[in-house]
């Protein structure tokens, strides 16, 4: 049974307390290595690192509201070869959900992996975070941590969270072995949820966070409101084919989205393989036939195909959009389209390992009207 315990915040320093807690995980050999964001030497961002030496956790900063990479990709690399040592991975909700999808796609394994989840208070684009941290206002982190108690998570003035975070309904991680909670918890303590036996080894204290559920609910409701507003805007934009073109026609075929996406697991994207390599005279023939052809070719085909491949598994982390040089609103597109397609099969990506991937299964008695003469 999971129990809810607390970690007393020492000297009002939440980050230090958290670092200490993580060190304890290593020292007590609860895990043998930890994947956790460390502050970059430049100090203006954080990057995930696999840490074996507890002392190196002095630089750990899981609270920094920035996510240069969805770490599910890294967990995939770490576990696809089935590690012999137990690895702990400190992840945000969207990273965990992506990981669940990757496990179903056999791109990651959960054996010898301990998923440590952390309440996500929202993230800035990498560039915004860098600006914020070097600005005079100081750390963009602590204001958020302070607001966590009431759930009032407003971005720094003049800045915005990433669009994915603004509409994220999952600030609290699921499918974890250990959850570190900040929402609805007063600043003196950090909430820790774990299996009873694990919790006992962690030297935690008893306590209560009575308003936590209430705070989370309010937060999610606000996010959903924002989400639906964005979706509605999107749907208005794509009522017809012009909308489709408006969304995608600026694609430059850089494939950054596929690189940033935690779920795009193909070794090489189909569109970068020989199938879509053409001889020069072929391009010329097309141009001849049609008068003009868009170059690079097949960007629209690429986007629609990627949508088709990914949309059922998209967890909405928004990394694609962050990576897109053409500012295509990929988060909204994938989340909005995904919502309906996923509903067709009652599928929520990242919800559970039990749910079958919609593209990997089918039923004899479903969709029976399709194919019959109308």
């Amino acid at each position: 049974m999971k129990v809810r315990k607390f970690l007393e915040v020492k000297e009002g320093d939440t980050l230090a307390t958290l670092r200490g807690f993580l060190q304890r995980l290593l020292e007590k050999e609860i895990v043998e290595a930890l994947l956790v964001p460390l502050e970059a030497p430049s100090g203006d961002t954080v990057m995930p690192a696999l840490v074996k030496e507890p002392a190196r956790l002095e630089k750990a900063n899981p609270l920094a509201p920035v996510m240069p990479v969805n770490a599910a990709r890294l967990v995939s690399s770490l576990t696809i070869g089935k590690p012999k040592e137990k690895i702990g991975a400190l992840l945000r909700s969207c990273e965990i959900r992506a990981l669940i999808e990757l496990v179903k796609l056999q791109q990651a394994h959960l054996e010898n992996l301990m998923i440590i989840g952390l309440d996500c208070l929202g993230t800035y684009e990498v560039t915004d975070y860098a600006k914020l941290i070097s600005s005079e206002d100081g750390s963009p982190t602590m204001g958020l941590v302070r607001g966590a108690k009431e759930g009032s998570l407003s971005p720094h003035e003049g800045y915005q969270f990433r669009s994915a975070c603004r509409i994220c309904e999952y600030p609290v991680p699921q499918n974890t072995a250990l959850t570190i909670g900040l929402l609805g918890v007063d600043g003196k303590r950090i909430l820790v949820e774990a299996q009873e036996e694990l919790a006992e080894r962690l030297e935690l204290t008893e306590g209560e966070a009575a308003s936590r559920e209430e705070v989370i609910k309010k937060l999610v409701e606000a996010r959903i409101e924002e989400r639906d507003r964005l979706f509605a805007q999107f749907r208005e934009r794509v009522v017809d084919i012009r909308g489709l073109l408006a969304q995608f026609s600026t694609c430059t075929g850089c494939y950054n989205c596929t690189v940033a996406c935690p779920i795009c697991y193909c070794k090489e994207c189909l569109f970068r393989t020989s199938t879509f390599e053409h001889e020069s005279d072929r391009y010329l023939r097309w141009a001849q036939r049609k008068g003009a052809i868009q170059m690079p070719t097949d960007t629209l085909l690429f986007q629609l195909t990627r949508l088709n491949h990914m949309v059922t598994s998209c967890v909405g982390c928004g990394m694609c959009e962050s990576a897109c040089p053409s500012d295509i609103p990929l988060t909204t597109i994938f989340r909005a389209v995904g919502q309906e397609v996923q509903a067709m099969f009652d599928y929520l990506p990242g919800r559970s390992l039990e749910d079958e991937l919609p593209l990997a299964t089918f039923k004899e008695d479903e969709l029976t009207e399709l194919g019959e003469t109308q």
């Binding site: 073109l245 008068g291 868009q294 085909l301 593209l359 089918f362 039923k363 194919g371």
Partner: protein
């Protein structure tokens, strides 16, 4: 309806039922409009969504996928796979503002030459009502 407009249809037909049905329409000399171009597949379950999107982006006005009736698949379940894929694809395209009714999935058995001809005829009619694929003009295809 634009009577002069002749829609272009690409059809993916399974080797065992629909393609044979199309052949039967021929042997039975059942006439239908010449707007359809048939590509033979081994199974409707082998029709990749890319194959459907590609012609539409290239300016085809409709895509027809023909498979065996439920339960009749030569490969047991290929047509069910096709059905789910087409359902997902149609849903996505519709949400992206593309007219999903340009994609038809139909079960046509080897003995249904007439059904094949009727399907093509009906599809041509429906596409004439819709007019040309707007991508043709807008996307320069």
């Amino acid at each position: 309806m634009n009577e002069d407009f002749e829609p272009k249809i690409v059809a993916f037909l399974c080797n065992w039922c629909a393609y044979v049905g199309a052949d039967l329409a021929g042997t039975s000399r059942i006439q239908y409009p010449p707007n359809v171009r048939i590509i033979r597949m081994m199974c409707s379950g082998a029709v990749d969504p890319v194959y459907v999107i590609k012609p539409l982006l290239d300016g085809a006005d409709g895509v027809l996928i023909g498979g065996c009736h439920p339960g009749d698949c030569h490969y047991q379940e290929g047509n069910y796979k096709a059905r789910r894929r087409v359902a997902i694809l149609k849903n996505i395209l519709r949400q992206m503002g593309f007219d999903e009714e340009r994609i038809w999935l139909r079960w046509i058995s080897a003995s249904e030459g007439q059904v094949f001809a009727e399907t093509v005829t009906a599809m041509v009619k429906a596409l004439k009502e819709k007019g040309p694929n707007p991508l043709k003009e807008l996307w320069g295809t």
